[in-house]
């Protein structure tokens, strides 16, 4: 115990002696972390839920179902997320009369336009990832399902989707990490996410390196935990694709 406190002593005295890493700034970083995780998590979950039916529709043989989905993904993958964020944040305000409706309650707060832009963006990318995985389902798996009398829905639910989701997992893991990093632009619409917190502390103390290096480390820690999660999932769900010695 004695030893431990002597070890901690320099750290504590250093913390007391500097302006940048204080309980106050840590609180800012903490709320930034909470905001980032909240924003990314909610948009990923909703985006994922939207992407599954869209990915199925994207491969439909019906032109009127396929084309609108294609257009949606084309639009959101063809423009920068920052522009989408700006449009969602500033754009709604210009809709005549919207400020008098209940919708304004949501749109006034930057978090909702940001969630909207992030959700639609990740939904577009995820749709394409899943669509690719569905399209690359080996023919034999589908033929076997048909030969055993499965109807389209059963085949989709029991054979095509489980098989495709597993194959899409590595690419989707990338998308999740991309999304985490892309969320760093949320601070431009005055959301205090991690980057926002760092920016504030940088501006307040003019200490760019301390502030940005520190959030870089936090982002890295988040990325590694996401990677770890996906590695675990891949090991559990993709073990069957590994060639055995």
């Amino acid at each position: 115990m004695e030893q431990l406190s002597t070890l901690w002593q320099p750290v504590l005295s250093w913390m007391n002696g500097n302006d940048i890493f204080t309980p106050n700034t840590f609180e800012m970083y903490w709320s930034g972390l909470v905001n980032t995780v909240h924003l990314v998590f909610v948009s990923l979950v909703i985006g994922l839920i939207i992407a599954v039916p869209l990915a199925i529709a994207r491969g439909s043989s019906n032109l009127w179902i396929r084309k609108p989905v294609w257009f949606f993904t084309y639009l959101f993958r063809g423009t920068p997320l920052l522009i989408q964020l700006y449009l969602a944040y500033y754009g709604f305000a210009f809709i005549p009369g919207i400020q008098d409706t209940w919708l304004w309650f949501f749109l006034e707060d930057p978090i909702y336009p940001a969630l909207l832009a992030f959700t639609l963006n990740t939904a577009a990318y995820t749709t394409e990832i899943f669509h690719g995985a569905i399209q690359s389902t080996p023919r034999g798996e589908i033929e076997a399902a048909r030969a055993y009398g499965m109807n389209r829905f059963t085949m989709l639910r029991r054979i095509v989707l489980p098989s495709a989701f597993r194959r899409a997992l590595p690419a989707y893991g990338n998308e999740v990490i991309f999304m985490l990093h892309a969320s760093a632009i949320a601070f431009v619409v005055s959301i205090t996410d991690l980057t926002g917190a760092a920016y504030y502390i940088y501006a307040r103390f003019y200490a760019p390196f301390a502030a940005f290096l520190f959030v870089a480390v936090l982002y890295m820690a988040l990325s590694f935990s996401i990677q770890g999660l996906f590695k675990y999932l891949e090991k559990r769900l993709l073990g069957h694709l590994k060639p055995q010695s």
């Binding site: 034999g140 798996e141 055993y148 499965m150 098989s163 069957h240």
Partner: protein
């Protein structure tokens, strides 16, 4: 009048791919317990013929009757022949099991899950019952200790025996085999043929596309030799394999080295 005692009857089947005729009016009648082998050079149409039987390929013309129930067809707006009622096709497919050249087990499921999938999701059999039945079938084909393995963790011969167990789980009225041993290493062929031999002995109706002449001779009771989408010669294996009449079959059966 339709005879309900005949498991499978096919009349005058035609099929072409992009204008190239592949099947030119083939007929087949499988009585209960028949083991019919389809032989012929590659490109003779034997696999296509088999795949038309459960409508994995859509025949352009011809009649398909399963236990007296004829499959209805219509022509869609693009001029393509389609089944009148996909539900009927699904129902009939569930009564004809297919075993594929490349096994086509579903790779994300374990072996027992593969065997249970169609009974549970198509026939709506309770899971516990399907599992019990599946385990018994895996035991039959000598794979009980592989039940929780994924297909990639098994040899080709094991996968194919697993695929046969999957086919048996449907209690099929006719089993369709599409070159079941062609993708196997020579030393694994025997196990699969052994299982098929047993199935024939217990009186299952089977239609087998194969290059295994020994199997055709020893196990089947009817051999059809296809050439250019037509039945060139057919009959009991003892007759047509030992004394082929047509020149083409003589050539086909002649030793190659």
């Amino acid at each position: 009048m339709a005879d309900t005692s005949i498991p499978l009857e096919i009349n005058h089947l035609h099929k072409s791919f992009n204008g190239n005729p592949v099947l030119n009016g083939l007929s087949l009648k499988a009585q209960k317990g028949d083991v019919i082998t389809l032989i012929g050079a590659s490109g003779s149409g034997k696999s296509t013929f088999l795949r038309c039987m459960n409508l994995l390929e859509m025949p352009d013309q011809g009649e398909l009757i399963v236990h007296g129930e004829a499959i209805g067809f219509k022509v869609d707006r693009k001029g393509q022949r389609q089944p009148e009622d996909w539900k009927q096709v699904e129902r009939i497919r569930a009564r004809l099991s297919m075993v594929f050249q490349n096994f086509n087990l579903w790779p994300h499921m374990t072996l027992i899950e593969n065997v249970m999938a169609a009974p549970v999701h198509v026939l709506k059999m309770p899971k516990a019952q399907a599992r019990e039945k599946g385990m018994a079938l895996l035991k039959r084909v000598g794979l009980s200790e592989r039940a929780s393995y994924f297909p990639t963790q098994m040899s080709g011969g094991q996968q194919q025996r697993g695929a046969i167990a999957r086919a048996l789980a449907m209690d099929p009225e006719v089993m369709l085999f599409d070159e079941p041993t062609s993708a196997l290493d020579p030393e694994l062929v025997g196990d699969v043929l052994h299982v098929m031999h047993e199935l024939a002995d217990e009186g299952r109706t089977m239609i087998v596309v194969t290059h295994e002449m020994d199997f055709a001779r020893d196990v089947s009771n009817h051999v059809m030799f296809l050439h250019q989408g037509l039945i060139e010669e057919q009959g009991a294996p003892g007759d047509i394999l030992t004394s082929p009449r047509s020149e083409r079959l003589q050539q086909f059966l002649a030793p190659r080295y």
